[in-house]
């Protein structure tokens, strides 16, 4: 294990390992302090960045942060590393890599070609040397396009997850929130429900409800009920209409074990979902959620800072060519990300790291009531992530999820973002919105759709 040092203003700082160096260089957040990993002072943090800037990218291939022998995520990262793709940046230090990423030479095609040669640790490291604007500027150059019944990630597009959750999974309550979202042009990334229970029967009922609406109105989108991967496998075997397999994942084997997940289980689910062939314009069948702090929360972070360990989760995700990867950035609470400033920073980091690693990154831009954040933070984050080219965002009725008890973006917020940045829905979904009269003459979501065919859903429920 190497030690890293730097001298700043006559003061010498020493970092005993690459993991210590990365943790000390990380922008301040409560979770790293809770873990006892954060820099002890602002000077130490900058000293760590000076030292980190000199570290060769290749060092991350020879000094694993978590031992190869004991962690299958480390093995996945190193065993699948593409040396040929890495070649153009193999001679760079982390500091030089930052400058290369920001340069004109690193265009969309070049970044896509290098991506399989990058490891989570490399992109996490360089993110620690980047400002918020850097994270936007580089991420927006990256394009990751995926598809199932709609196409996600095309230039000039922003998709949304319609999240019609209900505290008791009441079908009428779900359908009412679903109608609300559709009328506001939401749902092109996925119509996804967090169920109140993980029981196969409850999940199956919700899947059938969503599948029924999607088929009846020929909506070019996909559904997902966010249950455990083993429940999805079970339901697929019994013929339930599973479009996407969902799973929460994390950046260490032990943290994944705390979710009841192994790479073997994910392999099995991935093969089963692909075999169903339910996609029409693509076959990306996985939907993953991640979020900084989950490894610490599971006491499975191995002394690695929360942003770096989060990026390692993306190595797990990219093995499965997912349709959607969602970092649920502000859900975990103030002991991991204290306020709007820390949540924003984490959102930009996660989006940047995921995109560089080739993932269709979207975000649940959100907060809980004990975090120091509010709806203005949602607006700030949405705007920056929209500029950064986020693939999709999570949307809830009025910005308030009554099942998970937190605040996220609203359907209205997505309309705002599309309007101010000139972004449009996924092309298939946009065409569908037009075909049923939900777009106005400018191509925006019509303010007053009137006696719309979709409201038949509502009238049946109201009757």
């Amino acid at each position: 294990m190497s030690a890293y040092t730097s001298t700043l203003g006559g003061e010498r700082h020493r970092f005993d390992s690459l993991a210590r160096l990365l943790a000390a260089a990380s922008p301040e957040r409560s979770g790293d302090r809770l873990a006892g990993l954060a820099a002890g002072s602002a000077r130490e943090r900058v000293a760590a960045r000076w030292a980190l800037a000199e570290v060769p990218l290749a060092a991350f291939l020879t000094e694993p942060l978590i031992p190869y022998e004991t962690d299958d995520v480390t093995r996945l990262i190193l065993d699948t590393h593409d040396t040929a793709a890495f070649a153009p940046v193999a001679g760079l230090t982390v500091g030089e890599f930052r400058e290369w990423l920001l340069s004109e030479a690193a265009d969309a095609a070049t970044l896509a070609a290098v991506s399989p040669g990058l490891t989570p640790e490399m992109v996490a490291a360089v993110s620690k040397l980047m400002g918020n604007a850097d994270l936007v500027a580089v991420a927006r150059k990256v394009r990751v396009v995926t598809a199932f019944r709609s196409t996600i990630g095309l230039p000039g597009r922003l998709a949304t997850r319609l999240q019609p959750n209900h505290p008791t999974d009441d079908p009428a309550g779900v359908a009412a929130a679903l109608l609300d979202g559709l009328l506001l042009g939401s749902g092109d990334a996925v119509i996804g429900i967090n169920p109140a229970t993980d029981s196969p029967k409850a999940v199956r009922d919700l899947l059938q409800l969503l599948d029924g609406v999607i088929q009846r109105y020929a909506i070019p989108t996909q559904s997902c009920v966010l249950c455990h991967v083993t429940t999805s496998v079970d339901l697929m075997e019994r013929g339930a209409p599973v479009d996407l397999v969902f799973q929460s994942i994390a950046g260490t084997q032990a943290a994944n074990a705390s979710f009841g997940v192994t790479l073997g289980l994910l392999d099995e689910a991935y093969e089963a979902a692909r075999a169903l062939g339910r996609g029409t314009v693509g076959d990306n069948v996985m939907y993953f959620e991640t979020g900084q702090g989950s490894a610490l929360s599971a006491d499975a972070h191995h002394g690695v800072d929360q942003q770096t360990v989060e990026a390692r989760a993306y190595a797990v995700a990219r093995r499965y060519d997912p349709l959607l990867v969602n970092t649920v950035v502000g859900f975990i609470g103030p002991e991991y990300l204290y306020d709007g400033r820390q949540i924003l920073r984490a959102a930009l980091e996660d989006h940047f790291c995921g995109k560089l690693l080739g993932l269709p990154m979207g975000l649940d831009i959100c907060y809980t009531n004990h975090a120091d954040a509010d709806d203005d933070d949602i607006a700030t984050m949405l705007t920056m992530l929209g500029v950064a080219g986020a693939s999709f965002v999570i949307c809830t009725p009025g910005g308030d999820d009554i099942m998970l008890n937190y605040q996220s973006a609203s359907y209205h917020d997505a309309l705002y973002l599309r309007e101010v940045l000139g972004l449009r829905p996924a092309p298939e979904f946009e065409a569908w919105l037009g075909s049923i009269g939900l777009l106005d003459e400018r191509g925006a979501i019509a303010a007053a759709p009137g006696a719309h065919p979709l409201t038949a859903i509502g009238r049946e429920l109201a009757a």
């Binding site: 779900v174 009412a176 609300d180 103030p334 002991e335 809980t368 009531n369 004990h370």
Partner: protein, 253 residues
């Protein structure tokens, strides 16, 4: 603002009004341009303000003690010195302040009630004393320790308190994380023979949403709690083995 349903016609208003019977979700809000109409934006802020104030308003042990007519009380703090530290360092909220352990008497007690501010002092101010009174009235011959009023406290602080005082059972009444529809919800956590650092959340039973008149009433909650306490004593355990009448434990504490 008399009719802020900017883009909804009469027919739509009637439809959404009917749909709201099925869900508390903020549906059919209408639009002002792309944004929420003013009324709905302010309603969202009103709910959030109540939640924020509940999280940040200081705990008033005198107020709670005054409601515990005649019962002896003891005051302790956790190792989290202020609210900002409390919110960011759950580990400190589970530990006693180093000088406050000496405040705790020891005795041959069957139960200690710990009234903890948690994430909503408001819930504790409004409901905790009444819950203790109602529960004690149902306990008959139980030997009851002085009530501990704990500031900047998480649920697990009760483990340390009960084991220090040598009380067999800990009942922690704590302010739950405020949501947008309720900022005054009290939780009750029951733990049999807690041991700091060994006891986990799986060893507890929980009653949630104690907040009359909209949530559980004191009578109902105290009846459930006293019933659970009796069965825990017979079983010699709390947690997964004692699930029957209890609600699912909360994730956040």
């Amino acid at each position: 603002m008399t009719d802020s349903q900017v883009s909804l016609g009469t027919e739509d208003l009637a439809l959404w009004s009917a749909l709201r019977r099925h869900t508390q979700a903020r549906i059919g809000l209408g639009r002002a341009g792309s944004a929420l109409p003013t009324r709905h934006r302010l309603e969202l802020q009103t709910a959030h303000a109540a939640a924020r104030d509940a999280v940040h308003s200081p705990f008033d042990p005198d107020l709670v003690a005054a409601g515990l007519t005649g019962m002896p009380t003891v005051r302790v703090r956790s190792a989290a010195g202020d609210r900002l530290t409390y919110l960011q360092r759950p580990d400190l909220g589970r530990r006693l302040h180093p000088t406050d352990r000496a405040h705790l008497p020891t005795g041959d007690w069957d139960v200690v009630f710990v009234i903890a501010d948690g994430l909503s002092s408001r819930a504790v101010h409004e409901h905790a004393a009444a819950m203790v009174r109602e529960t004690v009235a149902r306990l008959g011959s139980w030997r009851i320790a002085p009530v501990v009023l704990a500031e900047q406290s998480r649920v697990a602080l009760g483990d340390d308190i009960a084991s220090t005082m040598r009380a067999t059972t800990a009942v922690v009444l704590i302010g739950e994380r405020p949501g947008m529809s309720a900022a005054d919800s009290l939780g009750a956590y029951l733990t049999y023979r807690p041991t700091p650092g060994v006891t986990t959340d799986a060893d507890r039973n929980c009653l949630s949403n104690i907040r009359p008149p909209l949530g559980l009433t004191y009578e109902v909650a105290a009846g459930k709690l006293a019933g659970l306490m009796g069965r825990a004593r017979e079983l010699g355990a709390t947690g997964v083995g004692l699930k029957d009448d209890a609600d699912v434990p909360l994730l956040e504490h």
